[in-house]
């Protein structure tokens, strides 16, 4: 499996009136060619900041204090503005959250879709418009030919998100970053957009980083999942591993707070408390104060990543060999039983990736 993007030890601080907010703390992950990686976490966990740093679109008060983002042998963080602009919208493009505000209200959509082609290619205007029309057709805008000169307000929310997607894929990017692309949409439209993205991924062979706070959306699209909390990745693995064999108590909490068909109690679980203030990040596991399974060590030291399988790692002291055996919540136990059954029946193929760099897997 070829890695197309590798983020190593990324640290990003934000200068604010109150001081320096450590928004991203030592984040490592990679993206394989052709896969969809979902980054999951609650708001403020740093998932949007992470992907914006890949695009070189960080706010003015953000500072990358360490790390590297390796894309095709080059470190994006070290590129000049000019060089990043050449990558943006060409090799890496992005779909934004809110389709109602992401399109220029005073420019016809055909022109907006053709814009990345004109910026990056030496294509004639006529050719670019023809290509824009094709791509609009591809993302499911019916009668695209006659709608090229229409303005954003003449389209519905779902259609506008299709147009935003068309803008993102018009240059056949190698990486497509989707920042909560379905959050602002109705549930029925959400499913359509997810299907569209899956279909497009096959057609244009792109790799996708999919950011969301909604685990339900993840199941439908992701190959691998990384869970972020308080500026760190705390668990990652294949989508089946995260859904059926989660190890970090925060992932448990997330899964438990998602309604399922067999949720038996009449109340939905909510993780108590609030995320820590990243002005002064805690010394140990940032989740400890909200964690019913917290141990003394959680307040003392950050847990390293423990290996569960070749593809599955989690940063929690519970996985330390000396840690007492803990009983996960009932619902999680059910999931894990299901996982064992599926593995036994051979319904889940444990993907065997070669994991080397970028994974810290031992404590001692």
């Amino acid at each position: 499996m070829e890695k197309i993007l590798e983020v190593k030890d990324l640290q990003i601080d934000f200068d604010t009136f109150a001081g320096s907010v450590k928004a991203i703390r030592n984040v490592d992950f990679h993206l394989n060619k052709g896969e969809t990686l979902a980054i999951v976490g609650e708001s403020g966990s740093g998932k949007s900041v992470t992907v914006r740093s890949i695009m070189g679109l960080l706010a003015n008060n953000a500072q990358v204090t360490s790390g590297s983002i390796d894309f095709k042998g080059r470190d994006i963080l070290k590129l000049s503005n000019r060089e990043i602009e050449k990558i943006r919208g060409n090799d890496i493009s992005m779909i934004f959250q809110d389709p109602m505000t992401s399109l220029d209200p005073t420019m016809p959509i055909g022109k907006q879709v053709a814009e990345p082609l004109l910026i990056h290619g030496s294509m004639s205007k006529k050719k670019a418009m023809a290509r824009a029309e094709e791509v609009l057709e591809l993302v499911g805008i019916t009668n695209a030919k006659n709608r090229m000169k229409d303005y954003p307000h003449q389209f519905s929310g779902g259609q506008r998100q299709r147009i935003v997607i068309a803008i993102a894929i018009v240059n056949y990017p190698e990486i497509l970053i989707a920042d909560e692309p379905t959050t602002a949409l109705d549930v029925t439209i959400q499913a359509q957009i997810i299907d569209l993205m899956k279909e497009l991924q096959n057609k244009i062979e792109t790799s996708i980083i999919f950011i969301t706070h909604d685990l339900g959306v993840v199941a439908g699209i992701a190959d691998r999942v990384a869970v972020m909390y308080a500026g760190k990745i705390i668990e990652y693995g294949s989508v089946d591993e995260i859904f059926y064999n989660p190890q970090h108590p925060y992932t448990w909490g997330l899964l438990n707070s998602m309604p399922t068909l067999d949720t038996d109690s009449d109340r939905l679980y909510a993780i108590p408390g609030t995320p820590p203030n990243l002005l002064n990040p805690p010394k140990g596991d940032a989740f400890a104060p909200r964690n019913p399974y917290a141990m003394a060590i959680d307040y003392e030291a950050m847990p390293p990543f423990f290996k569960i399988s070749d593809t599955h790692y989690a940063a929690t002291w519970l996985l330390h060999p000396d840690a007492p055996k803990t009983e996960p919540p009932v619902a999680i136990k059910k999931r894990q039983a299901e996982f064992q059954r599926l593995v036994a029946e051979g319904k889940i193929n444990q993907p065997e990736y070669e994991e080397e760099g970028g994974v810290k897997d031992d404590a001692e």
Binding site: M55, L57, N81, R82, E85, K86, I87, R88, G89, N90, S93, M94, F96, Q97, D98, T101, S102, L103, D104, P105, T106, M107, E115, P116, I119, H120, K149, D150, Y151, H153, Q154, V164, I167
Partner: protein, 312 residues
Amino acid sequence: MRKYIFKRIMYMILTLFIIATATFFLMKLMPGSPYANQAKMTADQRAIMDAQYGLNKPVYQQYFIYLIGILHGDFGTSFQFNNQPVSFLISSRIGPSMQIGAQAIILGTVLGILLGAIAAIRKNTWVDTLATFFAILGRSIPNFVFAVLLQFYLAFKLKIFPIALWDEGFRSSILPTIALSMAPLATTARFMRTEMVDVLNSDYIELARAKGNTPWQTVAKHALRNSLIPVITIIGPMAVDLMVGSMVVENIFSIPGIGDQFVKSITTNDYPTIMGLTLLYSFMLVVVILIVDILYGFIDPRIRLSGNEGSN
């Protein structure tokens, strides 16, 4: 759209009618006689004059005569300025006012847009502070103070420009234009900055950056047009500023325009001219507001295309 414009024009006519009526009766309430040399007049002479100008008729008849006159472009006779018809007085003086007004609004808005845009792009830097400071100065220093200062230093002391009068063509219009342009400049700069800061924070600007546009391309292709559209709406209030400003500026620079005429008519109780000019000012203002509304509808696709005519 056509229906809307028609409706607006009807409202406009109604407004002007109300204004004409109100001014007419207000003038009838004014103290003093309309004639310039009334002290020397005998009762007989006065009666002859009254008959000549129809002032002996009942007020309601005078009112209808006045209204019908307006429709024919007749605003009565000015008794103070050589008994000239008001319409002639106005038409002979409107040229310089229009020229200075147009020059000032062009100079002011162009500079204001530049200043506001630069301030927004370089927000929270010294450039922004400087631009904002200039805008505050332009808004705070009364234009007649500014006009006198310009006249004193650039014309009287340095002798770069003519001190006053309207006999050197364009050169005569430079200082009044600068003095008049301060208010539109300050207003535009301030408004433009607010709009542009808003636009630059919007999602579609981030998307434009994500497409690979350079910062300047983003401003040129997306930010500028989107922040310019609302600027059209302040043209109305700016026109008012110009009318007010022209009165003193023309007075200071002794320019034979309608603003100067208005001030002179006020100081000499020249009611027919005051009425005529009031109507003219109101007419210009209503027309400007109407044009701005229509223009806005044409330029902003969100309004243009939501009308009855559907898309394109």
